[in-house]
Amino acid sequence: MSSTPEVYLDAASSQRLHPAARDTLIAALERGYGDPRRLHGAGRDARILLDNARAVIAECLGAQPEEVAFTASGTEAVQRGLLGLAAASGLSGIVHTAVEHSSVLHTLAWRDSPAHASVAVDGTGRVDLDALAEASRRDGVAAVAVQLANQEVGTLQPVSDVDLPRSVPLLVDAAAAVGHVVLPERWDALTASAHKWGGPAGVGVLAVRRGTGWTNPFPGDDALTADGFPNVPAALAAAAALQAVLTEREEVAARQFRMVEQIRTIAAALPDTEVVGDPVARLPHLVTFSCLYVGGDEIVAALAQRGYGVASGSACTASTLEPSHVLAAMGALTHGNVRVSLDRSTTEAQVDGFCAALTEAVAGIRARAGL
């Protein structure tokens, strides 16, 4: 049996823990076990660590510490964020781009409203700003949700150019983008997830600007921070990871951008293959393409067999057997879809190896299909 380790090319699903986070996590496990609401020594220790984590994350996001709360996940941050903005406004409508993360779509489905509206994107996945401005001015709109970058195709949204009425807050889902691109100053609420930037899983972040109306939509105190015992060591490790990631961001992003450019070129040169998403206004580390006549599950398996771990938005790889709503909204081919996302350790040799494996795998699958 070959013991070559898998080349992990699915950082956009979850990053391996950043070394800075690992050291901090181990140290914080020793010190951060107490209840930060208690006044004894262990409680005070935990409180210091948690406040420190919050202050670091706030600074990294361009926020004040009191504007930032930890949640159990990026999904929970979106749920608390959107529903809390709606609860404070007394209105129920949420306007969003058609390519938002499923956490946004599920939140809307759970709290249905005739004032919800989905705004179309173009073939690159970029939202129609005029249609967004128009939709946000209709009656009953409580908030607008626009992601900073798309988790499947990497296209960046022009969040700083979104034109909203003063009374309508903008929630920016930055989960796919934090640590990879410069964050905008323009947001009223912002959400993120630590395991997407190299922190531990189970740490989400919800930030709400002072002066933005937000009311707890769930049981418990009307505080941005949810009730329930906080995971202090994980929060501190998430903060350490983000700090470290931002320190190296420019250098890592430039390298990843070039390697992704190479994958885009190789994939585009394959017969009947379409590279999806904006070629320039995109995340540095992520690329998606679709190959005609190839099953998403087949290509993922064929690449895994050759030692490369990738994701797919094709229906046959989804638990629901529904194709990706992102690819569908863009009018892109939904089958034969491959998403490749690099991490800070990905090398040029690994990318070269992947490109060779991809060419071979696609040709093999098509030959078996009789095409």
Binding site: D272, E274, A328, L333, L371
Partner: protein, 74 residues
């Protein structure tokens, strides 16, 4: 019109059948794919765009399942 019965074929087989059947249709004529596969709704138009054929639209087959109609252009 040539109608391809892809009712019980999983993604991406309906598109593979469409590609294989195209040469049997005269340029300018229509052919249709009947499929339960939820990806077909997006992938037939995407295939037409990529292969430079015309996507005519979606209607219903005799049994009420979605049918996706294509015109051969080349």
């Amino acid at each position: 019109m040539l109608e391809l019965d892809c009712r019980d074929l999983p993604c991406p087989r309906p598109i593979i059948e469409l590609a294989k059947a195209l040469p049997s249709v005269v340029v300018g004529d229509l052919l249709a794919v009947v499929a339960r596969d939820p990806a077909a709704r997006y992938d037939v138009p995407a295939w037409c765009r990529m292969r430079e054929q015309e996507y005519v639209g979606e209607d219903l087959a005799d049994d009420g399942l979605p049918r996706f109609v294509v015109r051969r252009l080349s």
